[in-house]
Symmetry: C2
Subunit: 206 residues, 2 copies
DNA sequence: CATTAAAAGCAACAGGAAGTTGCTTTTAGT
DNA sequence: ACTAAAAGCAACTTCCTGTTGCTTTTAATG
């Protein structure tokens, strides 16, 4: 995650110094920020508390991240790597159900909620939103690959993978975001069942 | 101290006065708050600006709504009446597509985004969340009635209306919330097509 | 229409976080 | 070992939140 590597022209010698202490300080800040964002949401975490928790002075936080939104985004991105992946056991239905259950689990996490909040179009730097949206989309991409594989094998008719991804994950997001009831494996099973049946029926109308 | 029930029963005569000016002031505050919430999101609107926009003194806002979250909720609820309804032309598919398009239109509104934000489990008074969730759910209820009507006529197999509602509106929320591309009637048509086909296929297998 | 108390207006607070600045100290890179 | 980049530090200013005591308006009541 090199963000501010030199301006560009190599001419200047003045020696930037991303090593050693600086790197340590930045890492601690990001960790602290991520924890606080997960705890308090995107709005609601405080610079001073970040500094305190990171064991770093307030000004160091401000000077490294003059933009609050960027700090949030960098913190989220740093911890966004552990995303659910999609297995390929040969049984599409089962693989998709597993994926949805894993995805729901991730979304229910405080951290997942923070990510979710960060992509909301209301409020927030557009650049940040796009960055976070990108990492969420990587999941969909994995899903799409799995679907394409199934289509190649004839398990499914050829379909638009991103559309199918939306059909599958939309209800999951809805249920988890509302938070009024837990998302269960039975939910995932019903969703996948209806969507796959629907895709098969509409693609091959007999 | 005969019948000085200050606390509970409506017996107390000391003349509360919800009429006239008070009502006007409260209405102006709610209007202003709703506009600002729509513009700046749930977090990000300021009491002082509410007061200014309402042409009312700051303390009047604070004294009427000591709780920030309650103010937001009341403002949202006041303007949440104009919700999309579901027609019944006899053609389920068409009715549902119309509904989804209308719903997407509502969600794309700054106001819709604010509502959406208010139900997020992260951050925010649980009571408020539940209130807002309630009004969003009224839409689903209308949807459910339409579906039940179709089932009665044999257009659809008997299904769990709330499940169907989630299947249909989930993808809409997802697409609109991401905000990366516009939601079109073609989207709605595809969604309804797949879901209805899926429901028919899974309920009447073979 | 006069009375009266509820509620609005007003001004002056305290408190806390955001953000800035000038200076000193540490330390990475040569 | 030297030097400048970056961290620490302290002392600000600014803005918003939330509160309080007092004055003025005005809705409700008779």
């Amino acid at each position: 995650m090199p963000d501010e590597t030199d301006g560009g022209a190599p001419g200047r010698r003045p020696a930037r110094r991303p090593g050693g202490r600086t790197a340590r300080v930045r890492a601690r800040i990001l960790t602290a920020a991520a924890e606080l964002v997960a705890r308090d949401g995107v709005s609601g975490f405080r610079y001073e508390e970040v500094a305190e928790r990171a064991g770093v002075h307030k000004t160091s936080v401000y000077r490294n991240w003059p933009d609050r939104e960027r700090l949030v985004a960098d913190a989220l991105l740093r911890y966004a790597e552990d995303l659910a992946s999609v297995a390929d056991t040969g049984d599409v239905h089962r693989d998709l159900v597993d994926f949805l259950v894993a995805m729901a689990g991730g979304l229910e996490t405080p951290f997942g909620r923070a990510l979710e909040q960060a992509v909301q179009p209301a409020g927030g730097n557009p650049a940040v939103r796009q960055a976070v949206a990108g990492i969420l989309d990587r999941r969909v991409a994995a899903l799409q690959r799995r679907i394409d594989a199934a289509a190649d094998r004839g398990e499914l008719p050829p379909v638009d993978g991103s559309f199918l991804g939306e059909m599958l994950s939309g209800p999951v997001h809805l249920i988890v975001n509302r938070g009024t009831r837990p998302f269960t494996r039975a939910d995932a099973d019903r969703i996948v069942g209806v969507v796959l049946a629907g895709v098969r029926a509409t693609a091959a109308p007999a």
